[in-house]
């Protein structure tokens, strides 16, 4: 028998203060449990630019390392490390995919990337977790700015 009614899904996280339940999308869960492009060997990794950002309120910290093609200014590799919750980890992981897919995004385009686009690709984040998607982009901007200022010299 087909049951068209969707069962209410079990909550992933329950708000400590309000008992409000959060639900993470399957994509968020996948990126959280199987994060892409994490930098494991920091000492031997050669990169063109690096940026770090942190949220002093919730304590999250993210660092991204970029390899950029000097001719096309496309991002060839985006490695990262994040200290934070599932949303923060999944957001950085997704960002690293978005930046490097289809031959890599140009740094001009990367600077225009919005948290909304990351959240959309993650099939949504709970409203309270939206801020987690901003941090990675902050680190990215820092890295790109560093890259550009180095080239000017």
């Amino acid at each position: 028998m087909k049951n068209k009614k969707q069962k209410i899904k079990k909550a992933d996280v329950v708000d400590r203060n309000t008992d409000k339940k959060w639900l993470y999308s399957e994509i968020v869960k996948d990126h959280f449990l199987n994060p892409r492009n994490v930098l494991t060997d920091e000492i031997n990794y050669k990169f063109d630019a690096k940026g770090t950002s942190g949220n002093p309120i919730c304590g999250d910290v993210m660092t991204v390392w970029l390899k950029i093609d000097p001719k096309t200014e496309r991002i060839k590799e985006c490695k990262w490390r994040t200290y934070g919750c599932a949303s923060a980890i999944a957001s950085t992981s997704m960002m690293s995919e978005v930046l490097t897919e289809k031959g890599g995004m140009t740094i001009d385009k990367a600077l225009e990337l919005t948290p909304q686009e990351i959240v959309k690709r993650l099939a949504g984040l709970p409203p309270l977790k939206f801020h987690c998607s901003i941090l990675g982009l902050d680190a990215l901007k820092q890295a790109i700015n560093e890259f550009r200022s180095k080239r000017k010299k």
Partner: protein, 389 residues
């Protein structure tokens, strides 16, 4: 997949024997306890028997027991009930900084209405500073509310010493009343009022293998409280609304069973707790125990695991079938970490990286050995992934 529940401090399942005792009142014995015919009298008798059972465990008179809808309601009834009944005597209330939100938020609400609230500090292991309490007491103090044992870190307060301080003060002053939230203590610690010296005590069903939606408040007959809910004359006019005999019976049965099992079960859990703590601190570098090493609930383990954020930890452990909780800001709507851990003086990072495991009747050494295997791996994975400022 394994199913290892280590969040008994959040809530427990209903003991099957307790559920059996509740069943008739959910089915055939459905009468309204205020009705005069036999079906009503049957419900009334069940409620009054339960009241007597609870009173007996606390060593008090049945008239001093009020059934409520939750531990939170009992705490609210205490804070607002005393505040409004004694507002002509004073406007000062003392609470500890690590109280449950049910107490803290009630106190904050009164603060907005013009009451003065003192929030007592605790030491680094969570024990209330007694000299601060002594200094805080004034002629205007109408209520002191300090929890028996903390729900997050398990620290047990020296309730007897606290009630002595208050009684000494009362030799020359009529007030304050002393309330203690004992929701986490039932089934583990002594509940005899004569031994505690409290004037009001909060208990609930959902932490003691009883039903949710039922709480209880002991109020010493020398103190009056204003009700929160008015209507009929149920619960001696202190909590109006048709009583729920099934929940009341469930609560008293659960409390009786918890008392019966208390000594043996506490010893068993203490052994498991200390076994786990000893090993995990050895295995995971830079891990630390939050709370007091000895003066702690037999079932409570609270760790800080630097570099592994709490929400990420919980969700990873969930993948392995382990249910636990955290004081991390990432699981709260206001993005602040646990007020209890911060009150201990923990840096915010250590509060974010906290993990609470609370053991219960079904917890076995085998389960804990499994967690001892999984947790270090999860922490190590998260640390490898973590960025540093």
């Amino acid at each position: 997949m394994k199913n290892i529940y280590l969040d008994y401090a959040a809530t427990t399942y209903i003991d099957p024997a307790v559920l059996q005792k509740m069943k008739p009142y959910l089915t055939t014995a459905f009468g309204n306890a205020s009705s005069l015919y036999s079906l009503g009298r049957e419900a009334k008798a069940a409620i009054e028997n339960s009241r007597e059972d609870v009173a007996k465990i606390l060593g008090v008179s049945p008239h001093e027991i009020i059934f409520t809808g939750s531990g939170t309601e009992s705490a609210n009834l205490t804070i607002f009930g005393i505040a409004h009944a004694y507002k002509d005597k004073g406007n000062h209330i003392i609470v500890s900084k690590i109280e449950h939100k049910a107490v803290l938020e009630s106190a904050k609400k009164l603060e907005k209405q013009g009451f003065k609230i003192t929030y007592l500090n605790v030491d680094s292991q969570g024990i209330v500073k007694l000299n601060e309490l002594k200094k805080a007491l004034t002629k205007k103090t109408i209520l002191v509310s300090i929890m028996y044992a903390n729900n997050e870190i398990g620290t047990i307060q020296p309730i007897k010493k606290i009630s002595k301080i208050i009684r000494n003060f009362r030799k020359e002053n009529p007030l304050p009343a002393f309330h203690s939230d004992a929701c986490q203590s039932a089934g583990a610690l002594n509940l005899k009022i004569s031994g505690l010296g409290v004037d009001l005590l909060t208990l609930n069903g959902s932490k003691i293998y009883g039903p949710k939606g039922i709480g209880c408040l002991y109020v010493n007959k020398n103190y009056k409280i204003e009700p929160l809910i008015v209507g009929g004359n149920q619960e001696m006019g202190l909590r109006a609304g048709t009583e729920n005999p099934a929940l009341i019976v469930g609560f008293s049965e659960a409390l009786k069973l918890a008392e019966k099992l208390k000594t043996k079960e506490s010893q068993r859990l203490k052994k498991l707790r200390d076994y786990f703590i000893k090993n995990i601190l050895k295995i995971i570098p830079r891990s630390r125990l939050n709370g007091h090493p000895q003066k702690r609930l037999p079932n409570n383990i609270n760790l800080s695991l630097p570099g592994a954020e709490g929400e990420a930890l919980i969700l990873h452990l969930d993948q392995y079938g382990i249910s636990a909780s955290t004081g991390s800001a990432c699981t709260s709507s206001d993005l602040t970490p646990s007020h209890v851990l911060l009150a201990l003086g923990l840096k915010e990072g250590l509060a974010h990286d906290s993990l609470r495991l609370s053991l219960g009747r079904k917890t076995t050494k085998k389960e804990l050995d499994y967690v001892l295997k999984i947790l270090p791996k999860v922490v190590s994975d998260l640390r490898k992934m973590a960025a540093k400022y």
